[in-house]
């Protein structure tokens, strides 16, 4: 599966997000690229393109963060289980399945402090919360 999805051998961070404004994938792009460089790991964005106009602007900016595209739920879970941590930068969330799945699989969620995410993650107890890109 890793070969099929071009997932490299290095440790990686998983970033499940459909490509649309509310997911704000570009929120901490600068910081993510620094992390990739400094810790010698990869960041994979997984999810379908929902807003094409937004994708046209965002995807060329990803730099070293790699957009994998849509993967099946089973594949997402398999990738999640072996990841270093999970990232969520959404402006707003209801009840994120991805964060719940990370917690169930004992993967650290590093998530933006919106109302929905605050219900799932207690900072430094059940994950990490950030408000700004700098905090990230």
């Amino acid at each position: 599966m890793r070969r099929e999805l071009s997932i490299g051998p290095r440790p990686y961070i998983i970033f499940p997000a459909s490509i649309r404004k509310v997911k704000d994938v570009g929120f901490a792009l600068l910081q993510l690229n620094r992390i990739i460089e400094r810790y010698d790991l990869d960041v994979y964005v997984l999810g379908p393109i929902i807003e094409q106009n937004y994708a046209d602007v965002l995807l060329p900016q990803l730099d070293r963060v790699r957009y994998v595209g849509t993967v099946s739920h089973n594949r997402l879970l398999a990738l999640l289980k072996n990841s270093v941590c999970l990232i969520n930068t959404s402006i707003s969330e209801g009840m994120s399945n991805a964060i719940l799945e990370a917690q169930i699989n004992r993967v650290l969620p590093v998530v933006r402090a919106n109302d929905g995410n605050r219900h799932l993650v207690q900072h430094q107890q059940t994950g990490l919360l950030f408000d700004t890109a700098e905090q990230f």
Binding site: S18, M95, V107
Partner: protein, 267 residues
């Protein structure tokens, strides 16, 4: 046996009194509004319109020669009557949404089912739970490519529910699903097969769409016409409560999903 909640018109045959009929219908309407029920109330209106029979006519009984039948005929066709009926929907017997003679619980799950999205995952999980509970579940993807497709979809949902005798619908997302379900089952300009529905508050609907001026009113109406709303956390419930008002008859069931006992391996 099917019967309506009210029956009017029996006594109008010999003396059609428009004002009396109007008062009776408006009283039923007022009671319905006061009760805040979302279920429709059906009224059977007995009418006896006719033209006065000529002396040469074969049937010469009291009914056929009653001159009031022509008065009633003219009154039923009058503009006054047309104005009055604008407040109501005309339905025929076969369109009444009464409990169906099926023991099977048939449920429509209506959601945006684009692979890889949270809604898709939630929808499949919910389906598995409902199937385990004994429901026969039909999944229906939300079409949202163009307004024309949306309009067709609205008709299709109603036709689908009628054809498969769906007892209940659940929509994920007040904006994406709720408005379509509302328009399908409670359309203002046509008679609908009314399937009761619940809505699950998804996130962007409460946090973003409900605050947009052009979407707010149809979303509020979708909520008002629903049997109830389901929130997965308190902040979503709170967002919606603020918009619909504390005195709303729309109930919000809070079903929290998070596990506060979770401790990750490493922080």
């Amino acid at each position: 046996m099917i019967s309506t909640g009210h029956f009017l018109g029996l006594e109008l045959i010999y003396s059609f009194r428009f004002e009396e009929l109007k008062t009776s219908l408006e009283k039923i309407n007022a009671e319905l509004k006061q009760s805040k029920t979302r279920n429709p109330v059906y009224v059977e209106l007995m009418v006896h319109p006719g033209l006065i029979q000529q002396a040469s006519s074969q049937v010469q009984d009291e009914f056929h020669t009653c001159s009031n039948r022509q008065v009633e005929f003219e009154m039923l066709a009058s503009n006054q009557m047309k104005e009055l009926l604008k407040q109501f929907r005309l339905v025929s017997w076969h369109q009444l949404s009464y409990p169906k003679p099926f023991e099977e619980k048939r449920l429509l799950l209506h959601s945006l089912m684009k692979r890889g999205t949270g809604n898709y995952t939630s929808c499949l999980r919910l389906r598995d739970i409902l199937v385990e509970m004994g429901y026969k579940v039909y999944l229906r993807n939300i079409q949202e490519h163009s307004s024309q497709i949306k309009i067709n979809e609205v008709g299709d949902i109603e036709e689908f529910c009628r054809q498969f005798v769906i007892n209940l619908a659940i929509g994920i997302n007040i904006y994406r699903s709720g408005i379509q379900l509302k328009d399908s089952f409670y359309h203002k300009e046509r008679i609908c097969y009314q399937t009761p529905y619940y809505l699950i508050i998804a996130g962007t609907d409460a946090n973003i769409y409900l605050k947009m001026a052009d979407l707010r009113e149809p979303m509020l109406e979708a909520m008002r016409l629903s049997q109830g709303l389901i929130a997965l956390n308190e902040s979503l419930a709170q967002e919606v409560r603020q918009e619909i008002g504390e005195n709303s008859s729309t109930s919000i069931e809070l079903i929290p999903q998070s596990d506060n006992e979770y401790q990750p391996n490493a922080t």
